[in-house]
Point group: C2
Chain length 441, copies 2
Amino acid sequence: MTEIRVGLLGLGTIGTGVARILIEQQELISRRLGKTVRLVAAVDRDLDRDRGLDLSAVRLSDDANDVVTADDVDLVVELIGGYEPARSFVATALEHGKHVVTANKALVAKHGEELFPLAASNGVAIGFEAAVGGGIPCLKALREGCAANAVQSVYGILNGTCNFILTKMELEGADYADVLKEAQQLGYAEADPTFDVEGIDTAHKLSILAAMAFGSKINFDEVFTEGISKITAADIESAAELGYRIKLLGIAKPHAENGEVTQVEMRVHPTLVPVASQIAQVSDSYNAVQVSGDFVEHTLYVGRGAGERPTASAVVADIMDIARVAPDGVNHLAPPMGFAEAERRELKTLPVADIECEYYLRLMVQDEPGVIASVTSILADHRISLEAMSQKERHASHAVAVVMLTHETTEGNLQAAISRIVGLNAVEDDVLILRKESAVL
Amino acid sequence: MTEIRVGLLGLGTIGTGVARILIEQQELISRRLGKTVRLVAAVDRDLDRDRGLDLSAVRLSDDANDVVTADDVDLVVELIGGYEPARSFVATALEHGKHVVTANKALVAKHGEELFPLAASNGVAIGFEAAVGGGIPCLKALREGCAANAVQSVYGILNGTCNFILTKMELEGADYADVLKEAQQLGYAEADPTFDVEGIDTAHKLSILAAMAFGSKINFDEVFTEGISKITAADIESAAELGYRIKLLGIAKPHAENGEVTQVEMRVHPTLVPVASQIAQVSDSYNAVQVSGDFVEHTLYVGRGAGERPTASAVVADIMDIARVAPDGVNHLAPPMGFAEAERRELKTLPVADIECEYYLRLMVQDEPGVIASVTSILADHRISLEAMSQKERHASHAVAVVMLTHETTEGNLQAAISRIVGLNAVEDDVLILRKESAVL
């Protein structure tokens, strides 16, 4: 029976989960594969910590070269995270003819376009299911399950920390800062939560999904990205009164000319979704990815977006996919980004000003005659019509919150109107702009 | 560039959808695959009907042998449905060294165990993603995406007709018979709806999911199956008052001894699910499959369970998976049932009497003193405790409906109690028994 020898880079949370599956589930994996997957080596700076696992049969080391260049390793699992040294280790492993599986979305989003051809030219595979949607096999579903479709949109709740915070804020009527603190205490948010709460992690994942959906190169730097840190309990309540729930969504759509996709729209921002929609029910640290295609219509994939065991499940699924074709059938796997490498295109990103949306606006205005008339008159100048408007009770600062829901307009047009509106004496500068999506399942 | 030549058996709704994708999406498919998939032949009894497609490059025939034994066909798509002659055609195609893709759940559930080894011994593949969950790539998710897991349960809303009827009954407070008639007029239900509404179609699909989840042989005949035809608008209302929605669920769970799965529980019946659960939100003709595993925790896959375009999407995904490894890498595909064929076991089905459940009981009783006391005393004899009970307004027949929600007990114990209860003079014979599942996402 063929044996695939695995080396782990990183024995932190996810690395421990991967080691646990490979050890505890070895027989099940063999029954499914008809091959053996064996953990032979692991690298970590901390080799003394008790991980609740018998690692006596595993060669432990604190030097990555003991895995990435080792003769007895067929497949390297990179679970260090971040850009460097992860990139160098992965590149070295590929150059030494080792398959690579990673959960590192930052690495794939930023350096994928360098690593995919490197893998191909060395005749090895690279898998990264765990980089998007944690345990959910959403990349496989998009790349293979929906492969017959021209993808029409991808939506995702892709960051468990943000979804946990937004869910808690709604359930408890609590403010952002308090819930963030609780999430940090529970280990659901990092000490520096910027990557999560400002939408950067979601943008990493969305850029991978978009490129896979539309056959484009990954353009992480061009994702329009806003986080959740400006949302108040009052906004969540206002949205609920209007029939919506606020989720941090990643959204990708193709824009075509003459039937050919020429531009890709990519944006990450807090989004109002209808409260009765499927995606609105995805709560706590759960993630969800919705893929819509011209034949399959809408599909939705839900599961745990993070955590030792779910993420490890996705890593080992990739290992098994590669083990199935190893040693000499790598070209029998679906290509990593779902299109033959030569067929992937440099597609432009839709300029931010051209994004079309319905908007939720929260303005703080002085409670004096004529203010609302001035605001709505500016919106009318820009041909922005309102679907709903409500005025909230007086704020501590003697300003009142006015919430507006607009019909569809472009981001450029909306921003032009907003810059005129904040020029009004009676309107404070910090207008909160959220966006609405109705086309969710 | 390698070319895969496809022959279609059946140009009905789904067959037309498959032909449409293969023709209209040919370039996209080639960009993804790096190979060409070409529709070369199609067989149908009716060759005159206008299908809105240019089939001039396709060899049309009314003789299945023009596809299943034809030299110029590499892969046969079976879309005839039913047991025979579908089984014979598929067997002949496999024996002639042709890959087979089918959407026929009845065929796979009943004859899969004959066809899988036949495919293997002829060095060809058999794909049936479209047989379960329509367009949702749920078999791929279970077989490959969750492959690292010992599966703990599979739940599914697997029949769009039943889900459409139950959704309509709830929204309109309408009775079963009226909604069925409407569904038939809309083409959502067959003239003879038995297979759908009595749960047989769901049982076909569940038996496939269960065998794939637990590595057992397919045991369709042993699925405990009840349909939706006895549910009234009043039951849906009673369930809602208790916080539940009624869905026709297929449920499969493993039962282990000493850590080894020895029995498989399989049942299809109308099920009360918490109204706030994800699966309760799956409405109309949508399907959903929930897979829970020891590492991935809960995952849920949602999409259209039927229809020309979604089902065709799943069929073509299978074609592309096979085309990717053709002509000589069939053993690089995941095995059809997710386990190496030699490792699949004859697992017993859990006897119906041993199923443990919480129950919803609807009894029609004469409105006279002591009846409820007699009923609850019998339940107490059988150590069945009640979670909730409500008595409804007087029925036309001068009986009143009493609804009870029990705590967990075995089916055998419940049936013993029920047979004593219907022996009471004041209780009518037709007790409606529904079952409740809380462990849904």
